[in-house]
Symmetry: C2
C-alpha cells in the first residue's frame, strides 16, 4: 500500500484529483463558505466503529457547518493520516462512507492529503456557496426573538448517524435572525450565539432524544442539530425552546441560571 | 487554556473567524484553487524545531501548491490538534510563524479547527485563484520540451526555510506547458509529471544545494522548488535540467534508467 496507489484508486471517482491543487469554477453571484473539521481516533471516534460510519460522520460534521450558514455544499477535501492498524480494507470502507454522503448531498471530492500518525486523524474541508450577503450568522439574534432547534437533543451517546440539516438551513435564509449548529452541547453553543449577538437567552423546554437526559441535551457534544432564532411573527420549521432576552451571554433554564458548560475540544471526552 | 480562549486570541487578527464557516466573496473571472497539507510531529517536523519555524513551514507547504498552479493565495484555514507538550507559549510562537508568512503573501486567515492528539497534527488548507482556464497543470508536457527547476535541490536536510515560489509560478502562466512542486523528491515527482503528460524524461544535470548529494537531490522530499516544462523557443526563468522525450513515465539520468523512488508519505522518514 503506497500513496500513489491510494490516489489512483480515488481518482476513479474524482476527476478533480491529480494536480497540486484542485481547480474549481467560482460560482457566480454567490459567497463562498469554508469550513474544516478534525475527526481524531480516541477523541471523536474509536477504531471499534465501522470504517464506513467513521467516513460518514467525518464528512457530516463539516456539512453541518455548511447547513448552519444556509449554504449548499460544493467541494470537499478529505485528508487522512493513517494509523498502523488501518489497512486497505479499512480505507475502502472509509471512502465508501465518505462517497455515499457526498453523492447524497451532491458534493464533489476535490482532493486531500495522505500521511500517517500514531492515531488515525481525519480532516474534512468543505467549500459551499450561499446567495451573496445572505449567509446565516451567529450575530443577528435580538431580544424578543424565538429560539429554535431543528430536532431533539442528547449528544453523541444517543445517535449513530449525523444527518446534516442542509434542507432546514436553506429554508432559514431570509427568515432566521441567527443560526449555528450544535456541536459542543446546547448550553455552550447557545452561549456562543448570545455572545456573538450581544444578547441573553431563556430556555423553557428542550426536546430530548430517546433515552437522553436533560443534562446530556444541555452539555453533550455531537448533536449536529441547528440552533437558530427568528422574530415571533416569522414562521420557520423546527422546535421552539425559548426566547432571546437583553443581556450579554447569560443563559437561564426555567428561571435558573445555566452555566455554559459543554464539550471542550482540548479536554478528553469523559 | 481552552478552545474559546484560543479562538478569541486568533480573532484579534482574523475578522473572518467567528461563524460556523468563513464567508468569502468569490473572485470574478477567476478559477479557484484548493489544496491542503498535513504537518505531523515525527513525520514532517520534531518538537525540537522552533514553534515559529513549524508554523512557517506548515503554511509554506500549501502555498507551494498554489505556486505550482501559477496561482495567487487568498484564504487559509489552519487546523491544529495539540499534543500534551504544546503550551500557550508554543501556540503563540506557532501563530507568529503562520501570520508572518500570511502577511508576506497577502493571505487571510479564515478559520480552522482545534483539537488534541498524541502527537501534534497541523493541517493547512489554502484557497487561491488564477485567471480562468490558465492554471498550470501536470499534464501538458510534450516531447522536445525543456525541463526546468526553480532552484537548487537536495531535500529537507539542507534547508531550514521553505520559500514558496509564488512569483515564479505566476510568471509561468501562458508559458510553461506543465508545472508542479517538488515535495517528494525530483525523481518521484518528475515521474508523476511524466505519467500525467504521457511522456518520458531525460535529466542531464541537477543543481545541488550546498552540501547536498545527487542522491538527496533526486530522492529526498521537502524541496518545494517548482518543476516545469516549456517549449525550447519559450523564455522562462529557472535552471534547465533536461528534456521531455516520448514514452510513458520512464526517467533517465545521464543515459541511465532512473527509478522513481522518493518520499512516500505512508513510510516513516529515515
Amino acid at each position: 500500500m503506497n500513496e500513489d496507489a491510494i490516489i489512483r484508486k480515488l481518482r476513479r471517482n474524482a476527476s478533480l484529483i491529480g494536480d497540486d491543487c484542485a481547480v474549481i469554477q467560482a460560482p457566480r453571484n454567490q459567497d463562498l463558505l469554508f469550513t474544516t473539521d478534525f475527526s481524531i481516533e480516541g477523541v471523536h471516534f474509536t477504531r471499534a466503529s465501522p470504517a464506513e460510519q467513521i467516513g460518514q460522520r467525518a464528512v457530516a460534521r463539516s456539512l453541518s457547518d455548511i447547513a448552519a450558514m444556509g449554504g449548499r455544499p460544493l467541494y470537499c477535501l478529505v485528508s487522512i493520516a493513517l494509523a498502523g492498524w488501518s489497512d486497505q480494507r479499512w480505507i475502502d470502507g472509509f471512502y465508501r462512507g465518505v462517497n455515499k454522503l457526498l453523492r447524497q448531498t451532491k458534493t464533489h471530492l476535490a482532493g486531500g492529503d495522505i500521511s500517517h500518525a500514531k492515531q488515525l486523524v481525519l480532516d474534512v474541508m468543505l467549500c459551499g456557496s450561499v446567495a451573496k450577503g445572505k449567509a446565516l450568522r451567529r450575530s443577528g439574534a435580538r431580544p424578543g426573538d424565538i429560539i429554535y432547534v431543528s430536532g431533539p437533543l442528547g449528544g453523541w451517546r444517543h445517535k449513530s448517524e449525523i444527518v446534516p440539516r442542509l434542507d432546514i438551513g436553506r429554508k432559514l435564509i431570509g427568515k432566521a435572525t441567527s443560526c449555528m449548529d450544535i456541536s459542543d452541547g446546547l448550553a455552550l453553543d447557545l452561549h456562543r450565539l448570545c455572545l456573538a449577538s450581544g444578547v441573553a437567552a431563556e430556555i423553557d423546554s428542550v426536546p430530548l432524544l430517546e433515552g437522553a437526559t436533560i443534562e446530556q441535551a444541555l452539555q453533550d457534544g455531537e448533536d449536529y442539530e441547528l440552533l437558530y432564532t427568528a422574530q415571533p411573527k416569522c414562521r420557520v420549521p423546527g422546535i421552539r425552546i425559548g426566547t432571546i432576552r437583553k443581556g450579554n451571554g447569560v443563559l437561564r433554564y426555567r428561571g435558573k441560571k445555566l452555566q455554559p458548560i459543554g464539550y471542550d475540544h482540548l479536554q478528553q471526552r469523559s
